[in-house]
Symmetry: C2
Subunit: 127 residues, 2 copies
């Protein structure tokens, strides 16, 4: 359990008070705006520490990693390739089948990442 410093608490509070999927830079900028002096390296280190301790979760997108509250139950993501918005979904059958597939191959699964790409409802209408 790494130390929960002021800086890390501030990061955690911001994430927990929102429903977004933040990247490190967005978090740093928002914290600066709110008057919290914090270095970008500290944000990266803090996020890594918070994730290790299970206090935040992350989604690894193609270009960057995004962080979100850990208090939500497990879900995967749909990313709109037009507007970049992220929606969440959960499907127990998919989750179960992943474990089955892994087991069949003698693979000890420790995690997974499922991302659907496409056009969200908002963007799809106007195309």
């Amino acid at each position: 359990m790494a130390k929960l410093t002021i800086q890390r608490q501030t990061i955690l509070n911001l994430i927990n008070a929102s429903n977004q999927h933040w990247d490190a830079d967005e978090l740093a900028r928002e914290l600066i705006i709110r008057g919290h002096k914090i270095g970008i390296a500290t944000v990266y280190r803090g996020l890594a520490a918070l994730e290790t301790d299970g206090l935040v979760n992350s989604v690894q997108l193609a270009d960057k990693k995004r962080y979100e509250r850990a208090v939500k139950k497990h879900h995967d993501h749909m990313v709109c390739t037009k507007c970049g918005s992220i929606e969440e979904f959960a499907n127990d059958t998919i989750e179960a089948l992943q474990k089955v597939v892994a087991h069949e191959k003698g693979f000890q699964m420790s995690g997974h990442q499922l991302i659907l790409f496409g056009c969200c409802a908002r963007c799809g209408q106007q195309s």
Copy 2:
């Protein structure tokens, strides 16, 4: 349909003759070894062009993109977090459920990416 230059044919041949998941650098190095003079930028451009034309497929991993033959039927990947090896699997039910989920959310799915992380059979035994 972009032009299939000598360089791109060489890249394509190498990928098609193998069963690996190559990154750009590995391809460039292997081509150089085999006596084909080719610039790294050309490899990147060539891979992008080949993928656009459906002649190769790619897997976006956390750090880098890897390319493989397009002649195989669709599958997803299991990545060993110890040795980095990549195994393939396919599950029609998972594929179908993804479409169902997307449709439920009014999401027009154009693609997806499913990666299982964990310990492969080889690495799992010795741990």
